[in-house]
């Protein structure tokens, strides 16, 4: 039998918890209401001042004073929301205002904090303000992955050789997470990345090479041709597939020839990528070979070949229509499917 006194005690504890949660819930609601009223008023002042500053309508120190006297949270919110929607001169003016209002110094302090949450805040502020401060570069090696990811985003605005090298090292590191942030930042860094990335591709293999090739394909720069040709003969099918996509994005005569060869690759993914690439380049001399690929054993290869023929235009369409009458069911089916597909595709 349970002692009723124990039940009583447990009940009292539970009742206490319940009353506590009711008080917290409603008190928090009231607090939120009060804060949001104050916050909203302050934000209106901050936005008004910032709009004047970034529009170049105000040289007055009054607006800066308004910003200086706001709470750090309001300041941060106002600058962050503005920073997302502007660029060029307006962004420069916003950055100058942030410096004068003490926000950049605060962000630097955050970056040196022992708490990862503060480092993340600091890196995020400096990233959004396009502040080219080397303090964030150190965070590319931060022990916390979320801080590293934020620092990788920042790197896009600082395309110096040293930062590019750091970023390529991250790309090649098999332990690196947040690959999207690294690849995307490198992509946004512009032409400065081309030579170091070419060198990186020459030296790398496996997954590191695959990621570099994906990036190179997105950049689509003719100087990657040599790397593309080299890796298109790599032993690893994933690397070959990425290399074929890179060659398709470059579009030179050598690329086209290599893609034609790749149509005979033993791995379906490589053949499909080659067919898609030839279609993308509208390489009409490949049309006959592509029409033969409509009988391939692999669905993706057949589909990409048919789509490539359609993209090629006149000769490709003619071959597709002929293939639709083929006695081979898989050839005629795929050809008819692509012919039926509306042009929105």
């Amino acid at each position: 039998m349970i002692n009723p006194r124990i039940l009583d005690l447990v009940m009292q504890i539970e009742l206490g918890l319940l009353i506590f949660s009711v008080v917290v819930f409603f008190a928090h609601g009231a607090w939120l209401y009060v804060i949001s009223q104050r916050h909203t008023r302050q934000l209106v002042h901050a936005r008004t001042a910032l709009v004047k500053i970034i529009a170049g309508m105000s040289q007055s120190s009054n607006d800066i004073q308004v910003l200086k006297h706001l709470s750090r949270n309001v300041k941060t919110t106002a600058f962050l929301e503005m920073s997302r929607n502007i660029s060029g001169d307006a962004k420069d003016r916003l950055r100058m205002a942030a410096r004068t209002a003490g926000l950049v110094d605060a962000a630097r302090d955050y970056c040196n904090s022992s708490r990862w949450k503060n480092r993340l805040r600091g890196a995020r502020l400096l990233t959004n303000l396009d502040e080219r401060d080397d303090i964030v570069r150190k965070l590319l090696r931060d022990p916390h992955p979320d801080v590293r990811a934020q620092a990788a985003e920042w790197a896009a605005i600082q395309p110096t050789p040293a930062v590019i090298d750091d970023m390529l090292a991250l790309l090649g590191d098999s332990d690196t997470e947040f690959r999207f942030a690294v690849q995307d930042a490198l992509l946004r860094m512009g032409p400065g990345v081309v030579i170091p990335l070419g060198e990186y591709l020459d030296k790398s293999d496996g997954t590191a090479a695959e990621l570099g090739l994906e990036l190179a394909a997105a950049i689509a720069e003719p100087r990657f041709l040599a790397a593309g040709l080299l890796h298109s003969r790599n032993e690893d099918p994933s690397v070959r597939t990425s290399a074929v996509r890179l060659l398709a994005s470059i579009g030179s005569d050598e690329s086209k020839n290599r893609l034609m060869e790749a149509l005979n690759d033993p791995v379906p993914d490589v053949r499909a990528a080659a067919a898609a690439g030839l279609g993308k380049m509208r390489h009409w001399p490949a049309a006959v070979q592509l029409s033969k690929m409509l009988a391939d054993t692999n669905w993706s290869v057949r589909r990409e070949s048919a789509m490539a023929l359609r993209k090629i235009g006149g000769p490709g369409m003619l071959l597709l229509q002929r293939a639709a009458l083929s006695s081979d069911a898989s050839t005629s089916d795929i050809a008819q499917l692509i012919l039926d597909t509306p042009l929105a595709e």
Partner: protein, 477 residues
């Protein structure tokens, strides 16, 4: 003789009531651990998303392609609005596949007319075996839209058809009547961009009843007047905000809601897609993916992301709700039975040693223990073996901690997303939290018991769900 029997029965009842109470305290103690874990995880998550800019994802050539898989069965009333909302999601590389699972109404006609669909040759890559496809349609207006009309085979079969057609690196399984918030995919894809071993991610499901829907988007969030839907709001908040979020930090998420889940397509195809012969196909797939990752020596993770939100209509009648709960319990029992060799098996790490045992002892057995405790209480009272004061104290003690925990979940919601802003809604939420244990919860216990019984008898039907449709005008204050 009868006195001896009565004495024995009284003693048995007291002892068993003690065991039941200990069970309640142990379960709620574990919930407390989950709540603390959820709080810590929520704090971290709110920090990560505050000031986060997603424009890079929106404008990048490297963003992963997502294929939305939307099975539709008798959805003529809502399918157009839902699909337009889906096509308007803010995500750069999006493919949408609607699978009409042999609807008996005019779902396919509505789709053909509204989206300018034309039939194309009925040929596709049959990677996963499914029921026959009757027709394939492409849109003349929407480049990324594919509509597949197939013979009825259930949701799992429809999703498998969708997988056969999908080209995206990631696939998002959903219900055709689910309303995903415009930036939901940008938020849900986050774990895949940050980590290499993510197998699936899931977002929060919220209940749309009572809220206002305009052009396929929830514009005003309100609580429903219907109490049954209101109780479900409390249940969903508890399940998502402290259940799944709490498990996230402990590495033990095993459920991705069938209404809104994102998966790595290759992993799902390698696993053979969804199973047809279970009513818990979403949980089964997640466990299978997790299991295969352990067997391959590269344990993958299942991530719950609290900020992407999908809205769904909750049943407002007890009859329909009972079918749903019965089905959920059958699904749970079936999935745990299929993967019984993972139970307390160290080969499967935290999943085998902690998560599966939790699901067995807490989620599966809870209705049995609870029903036993309640029946014992009633019998004890009826035969004078327990006095009224003790019975009342027992009842309040058993359910009190659960109520307090639910109240803390409301605080967690308030600290993070704060969707129910009105004072009246706050009062209502609290009222529902207190009332939940006075009848509603006991009904769910009964429905779950029925589910277990049907599982033991081998029943695998889904039951019929009836939809009321979305409310386009706000509820009166």
């Amino acid at each position: 003789m009868s006195q001896i029997l009565a004495g024995w029965l009284a003693s048995f009842l007291r002892q068993s009531e003690f065991i039941v109470l200990m069970y309640f305290i142990a379960v709620n103690g574990w919930y407390l651990v989950l709540l603390v874990s959820a709080y810590l995880e929520m704090r971290r998550h709110m920090l990560l998303i505050s000031g986060e800019s997603r424009w890079r994802l929106l404008s990048s050539r490297l963003s992963p392609t997502i294929t939305m898989l939307a099975p539709a069965y008798n959805e003529e009333a809502t399918v157009e609005v839902s699909l337009r909302a889906l096509l308007a999601l803010h995500y750069p590389q999006l493919e949408v596949i609607v699978i009409n699972d042999g609807s008996k109404d005019s779902t396919i006609e509505v789709l053909v007319k509204s989206f300018d669909l034309v039939p194309v040759k009925n040929v596709y890559d049959n990677v996963i075996a499914t029921k026959p496809v009757r027709a394939i349609y492409r849109s003349r207006t929407y480049k990324g839209l594919v509509v597949v009309d197939k013979e009825n085979g259930g949701k799992a079969d429809a999703l498998n058809v969708g997988l056969n057609f999908a080209h995206g690196e990631l696939v998002c399984a959903m219900d055709a009547d689910t309303l995903i918030e415009a930036d939901g995919l940008q938020r849900m894809v986050r774990p895949f961009l940050h980590k290499n071993n993510v197998l699936a991610s899931g977002g929060t499901i919220r209940i749309v009843n009572g809220s206002t829907v305009e052009s396929g988007r929830v514009s005003v969030t309100r609580l429903p007047r219907n109490m049954v839907a209101g109780f479900q709001i409390i249940e969903y908040l508890r399940a998502f905000l402290f259940g799944r979020l709490g498990w996230n930090r402990l590495g033990g998420n095993l459920i991705i809601s069938g209404a809104f889940g994102l998966f790595r397509r290759e992993a799902v195809l390698d696993a053979g897609g969804y199973l047809h012969d279970t009513v818990g196909e979403d949980m089964e797939l997640v466990i299978r993916l997790k299991r295969r990752s352990y067997e391959a020596g590269k344990p993958g993770t299942i991530e719950f992301v609290p900020d992407p939100v999908a809205w769904t209509e909750a049943p407002e009648s007890l009859r329909i709700l009972s079918r749903q709960r019965d089905r959920w319990q059958r699904g749970l029992a079936d999935v745990l039975w299929r993967h019984r060799d993972m139970f307390l098996n160290p080969k499967f790490g935290v999943t085998g040693m902690v998560v599966i045992p939790y699901y067995v002892f807490v989620e599966l057995c809870a209705p049995l223990v609870e029903a036993f405790g309640l029946i014992g209480l009633v019998v004890g009272l009826a035969f004078g073996m327990l006095d009224l004061k003790f019975a009342l104290l027992f009842y309040l003690t058993a359910y009190g901690l659960g109520t307090a925990l639910t109240a803390f979940t409301l605080i967690l919601e308030d600290l993070s997303f704060h969707r129910y802003e009105r004072f009246g809604d706050r009062v209502k939420l609290f009222g529902l939290t207190l009332l939940e244990n006075m009848g509603y919860r006991q009904m769910t216990v009964w429905w779950r018991l029925k589910g277990l019984w049907k599982f033991l008898r081998g029943r695998k039907d889904w039951g019929v769900m009836e939809r009321k449709g979305f409310q386009s005008k706000p509820a009166a204050p």
